[in-house]
Symmetry: C2
Subunit: 526 residues, 2 copies
Amino acid sequence: MKGCDAWEELEQKMERVMPVKAALTLLEWDNETLAPEEAGSLTAKIQGGLAESYHQMMTDEALKEALKRCEACAGAAERGLAGAEGSGDETGGSTADGLDQEEVRRAILREAREEYDRLSRIPREEYRAYQELTAKSARVWARAKESRDFSLFAPVLKEVLDYQKRFAGYQAKPGQKLYDVMLDEYEKGFGMKELDEFFRMLKEELVPFLKQVQESPVRIHDGFLTGDYPEDQQRELAEYLAGYVGFDFRRGVLAESAHPFTTALHNRDVRLTTHYSEKVDSSLFSVIHEAGHGIYEQGIDDSLTQTLAGEGASMAMHESQSRFFENVIGRNEAFWVPVYGRLKEWFPEQLKGVGRDVFVRAVSRVQPGLIRTEADELSYSLHILVRYELEKQLVEEDLDVEELPGLWAEKYEEYLGVRPEHDGEGVLQDIHWSQGSFGYFPSYALGSAFAAQMYAHMKKVMDVDGLLEAGQIEPVREYLREHVHRFGKVRTSRQILRDMTGEDFNPRYYVDYLKEKYGKLYQIQT
Amino acid sequence: MKGCDAWEELEQKMERVMPVKAALTLLEWDNETLAPEEAGSLTAKIQGGLAESYHQMMTDEALKEALKRCEACAGAAERGLAGAEGSGDETGGSTADGLDQEEVRRAILREAREEYDRLSRIPREEYRAYQELTAKSARVWARAKESRDFSLFAPVLKEVLDYQKRFAGYQAKPGQKLYDVMLDEYEKGFGMKELDEFFRMLKEELVPFLKQVQESPVRIHDGFLTGDYPEDQQRELAEYLAGYVGFDFRRGVLAESAHPFTTALHNRDVRLTTHYSEKVDSSLFSVIHEAGHGIYEQGIDDSLTQTLAGEGASMAMHESQSRFFENVIGRNEAFWVPVYGRLKEWFPEQLKGVGRDVFVRAVSRVQPGLIRTEADELSYSLHILVRYELEKQLVEEDLDVEELPGLWAEKYEEYLGVRPEHDGEGVLQDIHWSQGSFGYFPSYALGSAFAAQMYAHMKKVMDVDGLLEAGQIEPVREYLREHVHRFGKVRTSRQILRDMTGEDFNPRYYVDYLKEKYGKLYQIQT
């Protein structure tokens, strides 16, 4: 598209749109970390006004024309290429030195087209009404959770779900199922067909394996992880750990919020939050997890900065990186060889007499519970399994929302062996559905599976654990940067995974990884 | 304008514009307080994109039409009112309970019209080129200041000045002088005529008075103000003091930046910064000063929130409130009667043996120096006098910028008795001119004079010092809120001052206030 006038026009349009997007990101970040409590409803109004501007800019006639003309240009260029060089290389001409800029432009064009289509298919009046509904819905959800009473939330949840189904209908290709449309929004290439297979494997393999672990005579001592860990020291340690795994503080900041999250204005302004807790491992692994997200965003190629392709490839790919750092690297004894001494310097009293091996076993203990965000590595994906099955029923089988609490409790009992005593620790625990995010949860489990597949591959090309033990995280991180991070959204998560590991997504790696790691820890013959 | 269709249309337009303005405010705040260092140039790009959106939204045809139709509506309503009720009340029907909403609408319409006119008179190409120039200019200024070499800055300053003159020419009414246009942008009703008189009085009265103070045999001991004041305790104290004088932390936050400032997204989201210093008084009075700005913004009536009239009336009125809190209240022994004990609890060692009277004398000491931002209360306005005289010459007498350093040094020697050794502590000390802010400086001195006139008036209606001594700041602050803060930009600073004090601006109060306060401190017969 180089030399194509329409491309320059599209770029100019985007130079006005992207700042609005960045401002929305900053407002959200600020609202979660710093803004005064009484600013709330006005902040929502400011966000609403900017979101409308974004919507209008992204759906205007001139943009539509520019898109069409860019597509014509791109089509002509590809036909030219095909004529001159054969069928072309699917993955483009990117090298280790930099991305193929023609591929970059095609990706930006594709993202702009998808965003245009997505937004312009929804009637503006409905879009606005839906914004108001979800603002209300989040408040109702918070109150219901506090009251531990799902019946307060059920009517508004039903409304949100109905909107989401209608919106999915607007986007659906002929014959496409609604839940597939929703899944596609978070993860291209992973619809119900792929996910049914994935979750079936998890269910068949991990549910019985978890029972074996629970029946194992191995007892893991972890009382020392809870106690008097002063917040100031946790804060220093969090900065140290984020920096140690490779988060670049010249391009990012770390703050505090109730629920840790990561966001980015662009690859030179990446923002993590964490929380500090009586349970020191919660604080330690939270910051390593968020640093993983942050390192991904910081590793995106500069040619994508402030473009629609300048974000992580997908939710699952993002989660693969955060979980790679948190679990594959962080819950790995090799990682702690050069680091545990530092940790003990911060907390000499609290960790007195606790050897490195004891510490690593403690932070890896398996303890199935009710709350997803506090789950251990092994049982985590079973929390997601519950949600996947329920979402499918809600969207595809018109399950009545009133049925959710009962089904939730049954599934938790069946898969994890625990049963919530009230809705607050059951079906009301996550904010996602109140915001209309149906189809989002599967990414969490998929991401863990991506991470395991990458780890299996990387162990073949480098001595990952040996490097960690020697305190050399950089080659590991650089490998991820070269094969994952820098591409942003230029390629889909599925393609990135395939290009990197040489094979298509294969959940077997995940199951094997978990069984090997936790079989060893709990002395289970597999 | 109630019941006028065009008004609703204007309101809808502004509901899209104001969020962009708020986002720009937040980006600037974030950039000064938190953003990572490498975000810089991209942040500027984001700001540039949003500023262009703002410009376009504020100058579009539909807005122009809505303005015209609102003005027709307002004109008809006023003629109706005049017919029915006589000539009407100039200050509107606001009561202590709330603002007259018709007056509010007229003010918003007036502000929108002025903004529309101001922006639409500047050709878009020139506007954009100027934005680029000032971004560059600020960098050149920073380098020149670091190198202490004005000649590096002179060429770009000349360019900025030429743009500013040309822009002023676009805005000028027939026969209006360019510097008057510039002054009007910061302070309506105070042109060269008023300011010449004001500064002449300061020069005639304060220059010789300052010499008397310097020749006074009174010696003030202030060594204890500099020393080991740990930053964490300064931070706690800053929060205490801001809260004590009435800054509401449910509607605001306090952070840190190189140069303290205050900004507001709206009256429920007001943001102060301060700095911490080895000189504890610099930190103490900095936060009280900024809290004064913040209290003003928080006191603006809710009916003005997120409208173009929802800001302080003017730069000088803002400065009057910050300086009222900093100097009239803060550098007043009565204030410290209930507070000094708390201060000593924070710094028992540092203030050992220092009595309250000794402390208050120390923080009020007069010590003319080279740097405006570090100036004492008495010599402060003479720093402004220097700048006013030079700006006038630059704009009205085509003074060559090359002449600035020499004239600067001469004037400092004449008015303050000090002479800079290099440009860094002379003509390069302030950022303002590099940003094209000609006409801004006089507001600082005017604000101090407003504060003195308010104080003289308030002492007649309440026992200000008695209340301070009793730890009752609230009635003082509430009086300011009722007579100044809540009006936002609904009325001009000059009108607010007149309505409150019952007379027009009179600089005599300022001179008398300073002479009485510092004559007493330095035992000078006046």
